[in-house]
Structure formats: structure tokens, C-alpha cells
């Protein structure tokens, strides 16, 4: 059986997998990192988005063996070891940008990549278009868009903390 060595959330793992094993299957079944979800089988929904080498990717559409030597970050790896949330996680909570929570890990991972790749800032329309690969059935995206805009300000150093969303 093929073997793959990759670093997930800072920890190096060497795992035996069938060649047909997807990265998401390796994460969920071999490493028991079940925060990354599977919501579809046509690479549409984005519940499985993780970062590989800093880019957001759909972990359901990449073979585990293709990740040899890769640096992967999942939702479990975002907060600091002391539990401090990433500003995007914080913003999602502050702005009520999640309901059932199932799409949330993928949504957060996509949102971070989106903000990182737009250091000049994002308009509401750019945020909406940037979420094309992630489907949420609960929120209507309204609060997700607000949360990402707020987190972008913090991530780009325009604000040190999140403003209260609703009073």
C-alpha cells in the first residue's frame, strides 16, 4: 500500500493509504480530524476546504498521495495553542455567521484564503464572489459576508479587534 508523509497542523504524519484515498478521507478517517466535512460528491459545496501550502483547496478533490511533503492546515489548526481564535473564527462567532456549523469549517478556511489574497481589501461583491465555492444552506450568507469584512480589517491591521455586530 502506498505511503504518504505530510504535515498537518504542524505535525508530521506518515500514513499508509490506498492510492484512491482522498485527502479528506485521510484527515477524517486516519488522523481523526473530523472538523473537515464532506457535503457533496461533485466538488461543489466546499465543506471540505483546507489549506495546502497556504492555498485553499477542496480536500475531497485531491488524492492523499498527491499531498506528499505538503503542509496542510485544517480548521483544527487555526486557533493558537492557548485557544485564542483566529480573527476569522472570532468574527464568525461575533457576527453570527454560522448556524448548523456544518459548512463552517470550509467557509472559514475559504474566507481566510480570500482575505489573504486581497491585501488591498475586499468589497461586499468581491466577498460574495469569493465564496462561490462554498455553499451554506442556513444563513443566507448575510452574516458570513459581514464577518469576513470585519475579519479582513483585523487581519490587515486596520482594526485591532472586532466591532460588536449587533446591538
Amino acid at each position: 500500500m502506498p505511503q504518504v508523509t505530510l504535515t498537518v497542523n504542524g505535525t508530521k504524519h506518515t500514513v499508509e493509504v490506498e492510492a484512491r484515498t482522498l485527502l479528506v478521507e485521510l484527515l477524517r478517517e486516519k488522523l481523526r480530524l473530523t472538523g473537515t466535512h464532506v457535503g457533496c460528491d461533485t466538488s461543489q459545496c466546499g465543506a471540505c476546504v483546507v489549506h495546502m501550502g497556504g492555498d485553499s483547496i477542496k480536500s475531497c478533490t485531491i488524492l492523499a498521495v498527491q499531498c506528499e511533503g505538503a503542509e496542510v492546515t485544517t480548521i483544527e489548526g487555526l486557533a493558537k495553542p492557548d485557544g485564542t481564535l483566529h480573527p476569522m473564527q472570532e468574527a464568525f462567532r461575533e457576527y453570527h455567521a454560522l448556524q448548523c456549523g456544518f459548512c463552517t469549517p470550509g467557509m472559514v478556511m475559504s474566507a481566510i484564503d480570500l482575505v489573504n489574497k486581497h491585501p488591498q481589501g475586499l468589497t461586499e461583491q468581491e466577498i460574495r464572489e469569493g465564496l462561490e465555492g462554498n455553499i451554506c444552506r442556513c444563513t443566507g450568507y448575510h452574516n458570513i459576508v459581514k464577518a469576513i469584512a470585519a475579519a479582513a480589517d483585523v487581519m490587515h491591521g486596520k482594526r485591532s479587534e472586532l466591532a460588536r455586530a449587533a446591538e
Binding site: 492510492a19 460528491d41 466546499g46 483547496i57 478533490t61 485531491i62 488524492l63 498521495v65 484564503d113
Partner: protein
Amino acid sequence: MYDFTYHKPSSVADAVKLLAADPDARPISGGMTLLPALKLRLNKPSAVVDLSGIAELRGIRREGSTIVIGAMTKHYEVATSPEIKSAIPALAAMAATIGDTQVRNRGTMGGSVANNDPSADYPAALLALGGTIQTDKRKISADDFFQGVFATALEMGELVTAIHIPVPEKAGYAKMRNPASRYSMAGVFVAKGPHGVRVAANGAGANGSFRVKEMEAALAANWSPEAVAGIKLDPFLMNGDIHGSAEYRAHLVTVMAKRAVAEAG
């Protein structure tokens, strides 16, 4: 997914050798089309040959008045490449609309070109720009390369290695997305370049991406949106499904052509 053997060669020669040795082996680049098909068990390759370890398939460079793009160049790299943004901004802008962010972070130009999905963006762009597809064996003009729905001039085991695109004077792209899949329902790429005025459409044609000769003639005479506004395509040559009839798609090609010309300026 059925299981298979996985190979990751480090040179084109090795990849070609692996593919030649096993007719049921399939190359994988970004995997954005192959993997979903494998997951649905629509395909049963005996081996998958991963091209991502081949350095010679990477990179974007300008050679005189031609842009050369390595087959393993990701859509995101095309969308953000300073060379492409300055030489063919319409191509960079188009690449920024392929699939979604995650698809653009994995999917490659060579993979998309070799797959020739009728709803994919690149084939129409290369037809309109008069691009040339370089393989491990030969160079093929886009006109000869794209041969219908998922059909290309590639022979068994032949690999796309690079795409050569002459820098146009101007170019533009507009598309209408399928509301569900977000693939193109009808997209039109227009270009005025060393090969004259060329117009190509994706998403709409019953036989895949195609050149729109009437529009090319009209634009050659008068480069303006109005020049194509009155040109109606034959719905008989279009594709119809639950998202839109052939008539609708024929109409959309005209609308998108107008918008693409306006975009090109």
C-alpha cells in the same frame, strides 16, 4: 472510486513512458475533472500518472510576441501572472472566473485544454487568440486541436506540455454561467491579433467550443458591439438542457459577443 496504481514521474519522458506502457493509465494534472469522475466511478483507470512533479511543465514566460504557459500552470497563476495581465489581460481576467477559488488553486491550463470540456473556458480563448498547443511530440494549432465535445487531437499517451499564445492587440471575454454548476452556459472570447479578428464561443455549442465566423467577419469590418448585435446563430447547432434551450443559448452567444467586444474596448 476504484483503486489504481499511482505514479509521480519527474520528467515528461518518464510520464510518457508510463502512459505508453499501460493503455488504461490516465494522466492527472489538477484533477479537477478526473477526480470527480473517478469518485462517481465513471472511469476505471488502472494507473494514475501525476504530472505535478515535472518541473519542465511549469512556468509562464514571454518569448517575443508570444506568451508561453506551462501545461501545469494553475488557473490562479494565470489569473495573477504579471506577464499575462500586461500582455493578455482578458485571459487573466477569464482565468479568474474559472470554477471557484479552490478549483483555480488546483486546476491547470494544460488539464483543461486536454480535457476540452464543452463548458470549459480555455478552449474558446485559445481558438480566439490563435493559440498553439505544444505536446511531447508536436505543436498543434488550437483550430486543429479542439475537435468537439471532450475530443482533441491528442493521441493515446500524448501529453500537453505548454500553450503558446500570440499577444493580441486587444481581447475580451464575457460569459453567462450555468446557475447550478457555474460552468459556462455561453461564453464568448473575442480577439484582434496577428491572426486577424477571431471569435470563439464555449458552453453553447452542441459540438463543443467553436469559432463564430460570421462575427469574425463583422468585427473585422467594424470592431464594435453593434457589429455583432444583429448576428443570430442557428439554434440547431446549439446545446439545450434543463437550464436553457438551444434557442436561448444561441441568443446568449450574441449577447456575450457584444459584451466581450465592449470589454475588449
